[in-house]
């Protein structure tokens, strides 16, 4: 039966909608970007994101606190800020955002892999496959050196099968727990996946990753009720052809962009799109056009999305390595997901990570904090102070209630200015405080 296409948003596509799209499918707008995207209309805007031109980077090249070039494969934390820089400066925000999605989907951690170079190689792989064939991506990730180390692929031999990758291949990557596979399938898949090997040398670490036939279990296996002398490519193919896979795929992908549950009709439409040739782009395009993205509830921004978005909005590049540890405070150190299931999108915000976000905002704004030297150019009018603080972050949409709360703070603070030195200094202090409050407001924590 031919499925109906997924619903498409028909309401106004103005700055507000474009702003949300840029946050969900990227890292928020640069100054003027939401207005420019809105002019393209929904279809044009989505196509601009999903079918981007060749990548270019906007703004100055990243550097560390001493002005030196980054060393992402070597220096600790530089891997994180190297990627953050791409998020901030890229002209292809959706590709970068999807790279983050796939990093979470195939969550691999530096702490288990032990090589920033291998992690960055995997990152490159995820980026290059981000909008293409999921089948190609899964094949490539299944033999990716970082993944082979992370989920014990090179320890999985015919003499001693290791179930790690087999289990996650089904549970986390393609089918979902309890979705039509058994413990026997896990064991048999592990046998099919045997055979990868690598060498190790002091000073070099693991290298020369390869498939070694003598380590592979070439015997007969029974997987999902089918019998054969399956190998790792068969293991991947069998998962992708499993009837539970399309549903798992579209539900999981949907969840990265829309917080509400996927309704049955939309799910079937997305599955139908995906089944044709297991391409990612058509599904993403349908999700980005769906009414739920524009009319539904907001989502909490992941910490690195929040950070990159602040920097994009204020037009600041990467000029410090502090973002690596600050992002950790906020709950998301890139290349170090908490476990193979990735980050928990339901739990970005708590009292500890709130302080991490506060530190993020302070770090972003501190280089531009105003001082008494600029006092003469700053108005003491609370309305103007609030407007200027919002403009500082690239004029994000702020709800009236939030604007009122900011205004109330500014009014009270300025009422305290009962001496001449306070009348001079307080507009300066209030400016810095307002920038901080705007950045940590619920409006900027969500999109």
């Amino acid at each position: 039966m031919k499925e109906m296409p997924a619903a498409v948003y028909k309401g106004p596509f103005a700055r507000e909608q474009a702003e949300r799209l840029l946050w969900r499918a990227g890292f928020g707008p640069r100054r003027g970007e939401a207005e420019a995207l809105a002019k393209l209309g929904l279809d044009g805007a989505v196509r601009k994101l999903t079918r981007p031109r060749a990548e270019r980077f906007v703004g100055a090249a990243p550097h560390d606190d001493k002005g030196r070039a980054l060393a992402p494969t070597d220096a600790g934390g530089h891997d994180h800020i190297w990627w953050l820089d791409r998020m901030v400066r890229t002209s292809r925000p959706l590709v970068e955002r999807l790279t983050l999605v796939w990093h979470d989907w195939f969550a691999t951690s530096l702490a288990g892999v032990g090589s920033q170079k291998l992690m960055l190689n995997q990152n490159k792989l995820l980026r290059s496959r981000s909008l293409g064939s999921f089948e190609t991506m899964l094949r490539d990730i299944s033999r990716d050196p970082a993944m082979l180390l992370w989920l014990s692929g090179t320890e999985n031999t015919k003499w001693s099968p290791n179930e790690n990758y087999a289990r996650e291949l089904m549970e986390l990557f393609t089918l979902g727990a309890g979705s039509g596979y058994s413990e026997r399938d896990v064991r048999e898949q592990a046998r099919a996946l045997t055979g990868f090997d690598s060498d190790w040398r002091r000073g070099v670490g693991p290298h020369n990753f390869r498939f070694e036939p003598k380590r592979h279990d070439s015997g007969t296996k029974r997987i999902f009720g089918r019998t054969g002398t399956f190998n790792w490519e068969d293991a991947v193919r069998l998962c992708l052809r499993h009837p539970a896979h399309p549903r798992f795929f579209v539900q999981k992908l949907w969840g990265y962009f829309v917080p509400t549950a996927l309704d049955g009709s939309t799910r079937r439409s997305l599955e139908s799109l995906y089944r044709r040739d297991l391409q990612i782009r058509p599904v993403v395009e349908a999700v980005l056009r769906h009414p739920a993205l524009y009319t539904g509830p907001r989502m909490v921004k992941p910490p690195v999305v929040y950070t990159a978005g602040l920097l994009r909005g204020m037009g600041r590049g990467i000029d410090t390595t502090s973002w690596a540890w600050i992002s950790g405070m906020a709950g998301q150190r890139l290349f170090m997901p908490p476990n193979v299931a990735g980050w928990d999108d339901e739990r970005w915000l708590d009292t500890a990570t709130f302080r991490g976000r506060w530190t993020t905002a302070n770090q972003a704004a501190r280089a531009f904090s105003v001082t008494d030297k600029q006092a003469g150019s700053i108005s003491g009018d609370p309305q103007k102070l609030v407007a200027a603080a919002i403009a500082f972050w690239g004029s994000p949409t702020i709800r009236p209630h939030t604007r009122d709360a900011l205004l109330e703070f500014a009014r009270r603070a300025m009422q305290d200015a009962n001496q001449s030195w306070k009348r001079k200094s307080y507009p300066v202090l209030v400016t810095n405080a307002l920038r901080q409050l705007v950045a940590v407001s619920p409006d900027l924590q969500t999109s």
Partner: protein, 333 residues
């Protein structure tokens, strides 16, 4: 067993790196996940705020002495009771911790791993089991009635998913849909709507077991580090700014769950900051805050501000066939 966890690649690797760099608990048995060492500040915080000093986070040899101290402090603490939950992330092989020494199947299935029949102390509650020789300290505490052991805990129809099993453990129920933790649901029943310190994760993220549906709880790295410094803001304006965090936390959300989460977190952060002020070094406080006294927190504790504290340590390896153990001194409810 930590090696085993590594082999299964279920480690919470970032934490593990921290744990091995720090000084935590001495190994109860070889390879046991080492909890991240935390300093005296955290220990004394627990002691001062809760009237209880179960200092399982500090450096040096802590078990079983720290447990004894905790029990002693709890005994002296009067009616104020605090539940301290220590969740040791990681796998532990239940058939090694308490091994079925006389069971022929055990030796048949573990021809190399099986422990000698008479090694380790006998398990008083079940003569079919014996303690691993390295667990003599726990065996002694158990003999004195100061620990409880629940061997062989599991659930029917296990799909062997580590994440499912871990989830069940954290929520205290065999349901994949429950999003609140077992400690969190307790606080939802008896907690206060304006006291995030009543449920406290002493680490940089909230423990899932402490997740609530309605009542505020908190997670902090260290009580003396919960500040909100902002460059170029000080004095009266800083105080106003910090008050405004609470204002942001009271903004209407129109029923939007993400906005509710964001405002709720701002509200809880503002409240928590106030509650922790006594622990902030005086030089780091605003002028107004310096006028507040430590007695304020004391009175807060007397009003049962802190109800439970939770923490986890070590690599995450929720192997469903691995035993967990909990230490539950009688007076630590």
């Amino acid at each position: 067993m930590a090696r085993c966890c590594n082999d299964f690649s279920r480690t919470d690797a970032l934490r593990r790196a921290v744990a091995e760099a720090g000084r935590g608990l001495p190994a109860i048995e070889p390879g046991m996940p080492i909890p991240a060492g935390t300093g005296l500040t955290r220990r004394s915080f627990v002691a001062r705020s809760a009237g209880l000093a179960l200092a399982v986070y500090g450096g040096g040899a802590l078990l079983p002495r720290a447990l004894e101290e905790g029990i002693a402090a709890a005994e002296a603490a009067g009616p104020q009771r605090v539940l301290v939950s220590v969740f040791l992330d990681g796998g532990a092989d239940s058939l090694s911790m308490l091994y079925p020494s006389g069971d022929p199947l055990y030796r048949k299935l573990r021809p190399k791993l099986a422990l000698p029949e008479s090694s380790g102390l006998a398990f008083a509650e079940d003569d079919r089991l014996r303690w691993h020789p390295s667990l003599a300290a726990l065996a002694q505490l158990h003999g004195e009635g100061k620990t409880s052991v629940l061997p062989g805990v599991g659930y029917t129809g296990a799909d062997q998913s580590h994440f499912t099993s871990r989830h069940y453990w954290e929520v205290g129920a065999t349901s994949e849909r429950i999003t609140t933790g077992w400690l969190g649901r307790y606080l939802d029943r008896v907690g206060s709507p304006d006291n995030p310190l009543q449920g406290l994760s002493l680490e940089s993220r909230l423990q899932p077991a402490l997740a609530t549906a309605r009542m505020p709880v908190s997670s902090i790295d260290g009580p003396d580090r919960y500040d909100f410094w902002t460059r170029g803001v000080w004095g009266e304006v800083e105080r106003r700014m910090l008050d405004a965090i609470g204002s942001l936390g009271r903004l209407p959300t129109g029923g939007d769950p993400a906005l509710a989460q964001a405002t709720g977190t701002a509200r809880q952060a503002a409240r928590l900051r106030e509650q922790l002020l006594p622990f902030v070094p005086k030089n780091d406080r605003t002028d107004v805050e310096r006028s507040l006294s430590f007695g304020r927190l004391r009175s807060m504790v007397r009003r049962r501000a802190v109800r439970n504290a939770s923490s986890s340590r070590g690599p995450a390896s929720p192997l469903s066939d691995h035993a967990r153990y909990s230490l539950a001194p009688a007076r630590i409810a």
